[in-house]
Symmetry: C2
Subunit: 168 residues, 2 copies
């Protein structure tokens, strides 16, 4: 099976992205990076940066599907709310780009890449570098996004399809 | 000043919307309603419903700006995360529709409509009905969205403008 997968690691300050091509068992690195927002900017402005970033990546790279890390509640409720808003914006951008969205927990991502659910960030970065034969380890958020894409490549995934709307 | 304002009260299950036309001190009701998502559907699907709902309302009604209620952390962290994601998706849809987004707290909305920050939901519904000369009270989420639009009409508001993107 041939497909281009866009991995996303959402965050309000830094949203990592990573594109890989899968051809059966073979994985090929395409690109990766981080969409950064200015902490001094208002929330709507930061959301715009994330949404436009994902929209432009999707438009240019034409992925077949997206894999997004499932985020969890933080110790700080305000951080949870901010992270939730960033993730909601990222998902919105992906569904608007008409990409099927697959979701994976951090545990699944670590198990699929490092083979160990409690692996550290550095171990994920190292394995992403090895699996994709990169000359150096990608930045942490980009590595997490690539790891999420790799997880989807190694999995059937659970796909989430189109919605239904009621206006009253 | 003449403008059409789209009020949004975001929620994962029910996102209220309300459109009003402002002409100086005069307010005119245009439409309102609720975008409902199915609780059995996946998160991405529910986000798609919210995003497409707001996109279609914006496209059809051509508002000049949007007013969105600022949500707060819930006692339940998981609910906070879900609400955050719904709000992030709503903001994403609004910025993609190129609408300037203004944000108001529930306190500001209650003070601007009822004149009392601790007003109950029913009081907000009642005042929205009176201020917009409606034959009956709108549904609660729609009333909150209309109240948010009214708050913006009565205020200079704090506007949030376009963002900046860094890809590395």
């Amino acid at each position: 099976m041939k497909q281009r997968i866009l991995g996303i690691d959402p965050g309000l300050q830094r949203t990592g992205f990573g594109l890989i091509d899968q051809d059966g068992a073979r994985l090929r690195y395409v690109s990766s990076g981080v969409i950064k927002t200015e902490s001094r900017a208002g929330l709507a402005q930061r959301i715009q940066t994330i949404v436009q970033g994902i929209a432009s990546i999707s438009h240019e790279a034409q992925p077949d599907c997206a894999a997004v890390e499932i985020v969890f509640v933080n110790v700080n409720p305000q951080s949870t709310l901010l992270l939730g808003q960033a993730r909601g914006a990222a998902l919105a951008a992906l569904v608007l780009a008409q990409l099927p969205v697959h979701e994976y927990t951090a545990l699944q991502v670590k198990q699929a890449t490092v083979g160990y659910g409690k692996a550290k960030k550095e171990q994920v970065q190292d394995m992403v570098m090895r699996l994709l034969q990169l000359p150096s380890a990608p930045q942490s958020d980009a590595a997490d996004a690539l790891a999420c894409a790799i997880t989807h490549a190694h999995s059937a995934g659970r796909q989430i399809k189109g919605g239904r709307m009621k206006l009253s």
